[in-house]
């Protein structure tokens, strides 16, 4: 990792070009290689950038609130996205309404960009629902906890998009791309590699978006691969690019390029957003066992939200009164999330028999009937 250079080094020492439009201190980069991406982000004026800052601040406030709720016993578990907001918001804001997202389980920032009510994400972590939102309505599928398995679903969905003829029509309201989000650990899974094969063979309109936060729970990149993720696609015939995942503008521009390739019929792409999980893997994890304080400090200095504030201040686009409003809005969001979660009831026990099958299955119906009869034995207030 380098602090301000635009290239970063993979585990094997290979230098991989890394697209960066803003330095950690908020300066615009001038590297001529990134001129095409600079052009893609050129229409984002200070108003747009402030909107991105707001997105990230809201997501972080939600994330902090969820962590607190877990500590208070209101959630069984929480997976923070702290530090990954730029990769998620930047890529999410590049999506068109018709695009479809298959997230992993840490994509709260992307969920926010898809209009998912963030409080509803906590249904899964509170243990009242396996999902929590209408995937079709938001074009944002359920979180997937079995690492990498959803990348195949995304690939298949993209193959369906192809068959529906909504790729390469030239109409930006019609042409559709599919995005699968996954982490550095997932790249070791067979399903991710099969997704690369199927997507490449079919030239499916897919973006494989890897947030390389450098640790698969405790295992660093060098325990997952010997070739940087951005170069993983080469052997499959899938173009890849590494982007500074803590740079929201670069994340936006790189994703937009990959989405356009997909929508226009140019096939799949692999994006590696190089970032850092500033928090723990989940609230059950203890990062002090596998990361140094020095490394954590280095990445605190690359905080994606601070970078945008620095850029806006540097360029005269910052507005203290407006920022204070956003901070207040974030506090309100936290309060609302807290209130919503505490009032989320457990489902009725008998609901466990619902939605196992679309049409009745004798074994489920037998169990349902048994359970109802068993429960009815306690109807008179007897101890259970």
């Amino acid at each position: 990792m380098t602090d301000d250079a635009t290239d970063s080094t993979g585990p094997t020492g290979d230098a991989v070009p890394m697209v960066q439009l803003l330095t950690p201190t908020g300066e615009r980069t001038t590297d001529p290689r990134w001129e095409p991406y600079r052009e893609r982000a050129a229409h984002l004026d200070h108003g747009h950038v402030r909107d991105l800052w707001r997105d990230m601040v809201l997501v972080r406030a939600f994330d902090d609130e969820a962590t607190s709720l877990q500590r208070q016993g209101q959630l069984g578990l929480w997976a923070q996205c702290l530090g990954q907001e730029a990769a998620q918001v930047g890529s999410g804001r590049a999506l068109a309404p018709q695009d479809y997202v298959f997230p992993s389980y840490r994509e709260h920032g992307v969920a926010h960009t898809r209009g998912v009510d963030l409080a509803q994400i906590l249904r899964l972590f509170r243990g009242v629902d396996h999902g929590g939102w209408d995937g079709e309505a938001h074009r944002f599928h359920n979180y997937t906890l079995v690492i990498g398995s959803h990348t195949l679903h995304a690939t298949g969905y993209a193959m369906g998009v192809q068959r529906d003829g909504v790729v390469g029509t030239g109409d930006p309201t019609v042409d559709t791309a599919v995005v699968a989000y996954f982490g550095d650990g997932a790249t070791a899974q067979g399903d991710v590699n099969e997704a690369l094969v199927f997507a490449a063979v079919n030239q499916a309109p897919l973006v494989l978006f890897c947030q390389n936060n450098q640790f698969a729970i405790s295992e660093p990149n060098e325990r997952q691969f010997r070739v940087p993720v951005a170069r993983r696609g080469e052997g499959f015939g899938v173009p890849g690019v590494r982007v500074d995942g803590n740079d929201v503008l670069a994340s936006y521009a790189v994703t937009q390029e990959a989405l356009e390739r997909a929508r226009s019929g140019g096939g799949p792409s692999l994006v590696e957003a190089f970032t850092f999980r500033m928090g723990a893997h989940t609230t059950s994890d203890d990062p002090t066992r596998y990361r140094t304080r020095e490394l954590e400090q280095q990445w605190r200095e690359r905080d994606p939200i601070a970078r945008i504030e620095a850029m806006l201040r540097r360029e005269g686009g910052w507005d203290d009164a407006w920022a204070a409003q956003v901070v207040e809005e974030a506090a309100d969001l936290g309060a609302r999330v807290r209130e919503t979660v505490r009032s989320m009831p457990a489902p009725a026990p008998a609901s466990m028999f619902d939605h196992v099958y679309a049409t009745p299955h004798a074994a489920v119906e037998d169990d349902r009937a048994f359970f109802a009869e068993y429960e009815s034995g306690f109807a008179d207030g007897g101890a259970r």
Binding site: H130, G131, H141, A158, G160, V197, H355, A358
Partner: protein
């Protein structure tokens, strides 16, 4: 969506659909059910390894790619998890895939996608996502194959809620059950007794259900007459033989042999392993007072254990003997030269019948 220019062109030889009752081998009854489904619904896809150009290693998909094209009858990469995983995504986009896993022993790379993803997606999404996917698997032994080509993994899938697991024993059921499986909004594991692929029998062909232009295919009209329903394929009074798939043939042979000695065996073809039609089995076992379950899969933790437990529970006061099971041993499938010592053949079934009747 790409043409394989390295391969020779093939011409479609499209025969008219048969009507009424026709005689077909079991394999071709399956082909016919897929061909009709492809003709009836443009969202139906057939996918698998070698299913297109080659027509499948057993030729069960023969002619389908020539008739319906490479985008609907898809030669996939050689990756079973990928086949099932992409079919899930396609289903979320409205496509109805009929998948072929080339052999029973090759299904395990897809085990996670089938049991964790396919089986549970409806549940995980509170009923919002339906995955009407059929996974066809040639299964079972007796064909002298090399290792991993003769297995019977049904119990592993029947143990997973969210899946339906079925296995036909004859051409008529194979045709009808596959039509119903494709129509089902639930995922169905369709286990084909490969050793009986070329058994011929009468098949009653349903008229092609072509919807009016723009209308959805009337899957409700296809019904649910064979799936989930066991059937008494030979009536009898002394003992109930319960079997499915390739073992029905063995059970019928055993009943015929026993009849020569004056014993009347009833044979029940389960047809569906998940769910099991217990009312039909229990009615028969109560009547005969004796029950023997036959399957090729290992007896230990097999489907027969479920049948035995349930029959014991529901027929306890009607039984003259404990429910017995005949099946494979708790070993990996053995080499071909001794597979007939492993499989539950006629003699082992009759031995169990004798033990039950002697009780």
């Amino acid at each position: 969506m790409t043409t394989t220019s390295t391969q020779p062109a093939i011409e479609a030889q499209v025969a008219p659909f048969p009507t009424g009752t026709t005689t077909l081998p079991l394999a071709k009854a399956i082909t016919l059910a897929m061909r009709q489904a492809l003709a009836e619904d443009p969202k139906v896809l057939v996918m698998g390894e070698d299913v297109g150009r080659l027509g499948g290693v057993f030729r069960v998909t023969d002619g389908l790619q020539a008739e319906f094209g490479e985008d609907r009858v898809v030669d996939t990469p050689l990756a079973e998890s990928g086949i099932v995983g992409t079919a899930i995504g396609l289903a979320m986009r409205g496509y109805r895939s009929v998948l072929e896993i080339q052999f029973d022993g090759f299904i395990f790379p897809a085990f996670d996608q089938i049991t964790t993803q396919l089986a549970k997606m409806r549940y995980r999404t509170s009923g919002r996502v339906s995955l009407p996917i059929v996974i066809r698997v040639p299964y079972g032994g007796g064909i002298g194959a090399v290792e991993h080509h003769s297995e019977s993994p049904e119990a592993l899938f029947a143990h997973t809620a969210g899946l339906r697991v079925v296995s036909p024993s004859n051409p008529a059921d194979a045709y009808r059950m596959l039509r119903e499986a494709i129509a089902s909004p639930d995922p169905v594991l369709f286990l084909e007794p490969k050793g009986r692929y070329w058994d011929k029998g009468p098949v009653e062909v349903a008229p092609l259900a072509l919807p009016a232009a723009g209308a959805p295919t009337a899957y409700d009209a296809i019904g649910h007459e064979t799936l989930d329903r066991a059937v008494v394929v030979r009536p009898g009074t002394d003992l109930t033989l319960v079997a499915y798939g390739p073992s029905v043939h063995v059970a019928l042979a055993a009943a015929a042999a026993a009849a020569e000695e004056g014993r009347s065996l009833e044979v029940v073809d389960l047809r569906t392993i998940s769910p099991i039609d217990f009312p039909t089995v229990v009615e028969s076992a109560r009547r005969t007072g004796r029950c023997v379950v036959v399957h090729e899969a290992p007896v230990f933790h097999g489907a027969g254990a479920e049948v035995a437990a349930r029959v014991t529970e529901e027929c306890f006061f009607s039984l003259e003997a404990p429910v017995l099971r005949v099946g494979g041993f708790h070993t990996p499938y053995p080499v071909a030269k001794i597979e007939h010592d492993y499989l539950p053949g006629l003699d082992r079934v009759l031995d169990a019948v004798d033990r039950s009747l002697a009780f």
